[in-house]
């Protein structure tokens, strides 16, 4: 007989959840792809020994974290230095009950509220994976200024998202 997959999330949703968690932990997209694959394979192998009634997401996230810690080259992203319980609690808080849908929508709205220069900088950084030099050239600023600009933009977005979520 086939074992029922718990109804908490579909396998596709679980994969996306693990991938997002790995990205949250600072894994580059390609590494996150690899680790999701490994995580799901481990789950497939161990599933018989896991409680089928429990949400597999925390187990998958924990396994993915361990794999990422094992393979991540130094220096580790700062977030990876936090302990598991802290990470898990914050992740659940940030994602909420809707897998982060509302928070992402808030972020998208906040992004729209930025000026064109800020949006351009973020599009270059996140959309095109442009180097600091390339961003500097595109915006007509010095390369050293790019880091500061991106940090300010992220700070601005964080505050905006927090305000929107609270309201």
């Amino acid at each position: 007989m086939f074992r029922e997959i718990p109804r908490h999330a579909t396998p596709t949703e679980l994969r996306l959840e693990v991938w997002r968690h790995l990205r949250f932990l600072g894994a580059p997209s390609s590494a996150a792809d690899d680790l999701v694959q490994e995580t799901m394979m481990i789950w497939l192998e161990k599933r018989a020994s896991l409680d089928p009634g429990r949400d597999p997401a925390p187990w998958l996230r924990g396994t993915a974290r361990n794999l990422w810690r094992r393979t991540c080259a130094r220096p580790h992203p700062e977030v990876l230095g936090l302990d598991d319980a802290q990470l898990e609690a914050r992740w659940q808080q940030l994602q909420g009950e809707d897998a982060g849908t509302h928070r992402r929508a808030a972020l998208a709205a906040c992004l729209e509220s930025l000026g064109p220069r800020g949006r351009r900088a973020l599009a270059l950084r996140y959309g095109e994976d442009a180097s600091r030099e390339a961003i500097a050239q595109a915006l007509g600023i010095r390369a050293e200024g790019v880091k500061t600009l991106l940090r300010r933009l992220r700070d601005q977005l964080r505050r905006c998202v927090t305000e929107r979520m609270e309201s």
């Binding site: 990205r23 949250f24 600072g26 390609s30 977030v79």
Partner: protein, 327 residues
């Protein structure tokens, strides 16, 4: 900044910004979807039959001259173990393909191998940036699509697991995909004739590219071609747990997960007493001064057969065929 609250908030925003700008997980195959597990005994039988199907070609291969030692296969599993004198120098391996999930399996297995210095060509290289446009992994050296024999000369082995990377998918541009596959295979053939070791995964695009080309038959033998899926079935393959020997009918209905006819056939034919009829999972040819290895596109199933070590063992054996070239 050491406030965990802010660190995690920033990390979340950082990841979400990537997603808002189009970043997505690579498309996962149906095979990676955790499938409903079959009952324990059936799973064991399936794994056993799968391994039996591989045992014959692997045994033939391993008994060939220059075949791999058990030591190398064992040390493959434990990167901390001293690989010993079996390999004096790392084998320089070039992996070419599109960065899909089964290529990733192989890449990960090769990265674990202590005797391999891996280079990959899994995404087009942006000439301005001097790095792949996407899909690059930090753990290996990345190179552009080889254009001439000189580009391959530095490698001891070349693994062609898919068509050369392109910004457009094969479905988007069939003609270009066939042209680039053909061009790559021709170059690979020259490389083998000049003394290199090349492994080609016999994918449909390669079969199409070398149709009616006897010269390339040693690289892409038609005997390893995957069978066409049954008429009207979905084009994707089923997960490993659902593979059952022929005769069992509890495979989910077409449209959700179609039985993979080629592999089912192999499993069926590889039953005891019928092994001689089993299509090979791989073929090895001496070609010119070098060696050509052709493998079935179903090899990833070893990884998912319930015995993950089998996959690493397989690639350990492949790497044993890799010898430093006579330069």
């Amino acid at each position: 900044m050491n406030d965990p609250h802010q660190i995690t908030a920033d990390a979340w925003i950082d990841a979400a910004l990537g997603e808002l700008h189009g970043e997505r997980p690579s498309r996962s195959p149906e095979a990676r979807r955790p499938q409903p597990a079959s009952s324990g005994p059936r799973r064991l039988v399936t794994a056993a039959v799968l391994l039996l199907g591989l045992a014959v070609p692997l045994a033939i291969w391993l008994s060939s001259p220059g075949a791999g030692s058990a030591r190398t296969a064992a040390s493959f599993q434990d990167p901390t173990q001293d690989p010993g004198p079996a390999k004096q120098a790392a084998c320089k391996v070039l992996l070419i393909g599109t960065p899909n999930w089964d290529v990733r399996y192989t890449r990960t297995a090769l990265l674990r191998h202590p005797g391999v210095a891996l280079s990959t060509c899994l995404a087009p290289v942006d000439p301005a940036a001097g790095k792949p446009t996407r899909g690059a992994n930090e753990r290996e050296k990345t190179v552009g699509i080889p254009q001439s024999l000189e580009d391959l000369a530095e490698f001891d082995a070349v693994l062609v697991l898919g068509r050369p990377p392109s910004e457009r998918s094969a479905a988007q541009d069939v003609a270009t995909a066939a042209r680039s596959s053909r061009s790559l295979l021709r170059l690979t053939h020259q490389y083998v004739q000049a003394g290199g070791t090349a492994l080609v995964c016999v994918r449909p695009e390669f079969l199409a590219a070398v149709a009616n080309d006897e010269e390339l038959e040693p690289l892409v033998p038609e005997s390893l071609a995957p069978a066409k899926p049954p008429e009207g079935s979905a084009p994707h393959v089923v997960g490993p747990i659902l593979i059952t020997p022929a005769g069992e009918t509890d495979i989910p209905a077409a449209g959700k997960a179609a039985p993979l006819a080629s592999w089912t056939e192999r499993v069926k034919l590889a039953r005891p007493g019928q092994a001689e009829e089993a299509p090979p999972a791989l073929q090895i040819h001496s070609e010119g001064e070098g060696t050509a290895i052709a493998v079935s596109p179903d090899l990833w199933r070893i990884r998912a057969s319930g015995n993950p070590q089998a996959f690493d063992h397989f690639w350990a054996s492949v790497i044993e065929h890799c010898r430093p070239r006579q330069k």
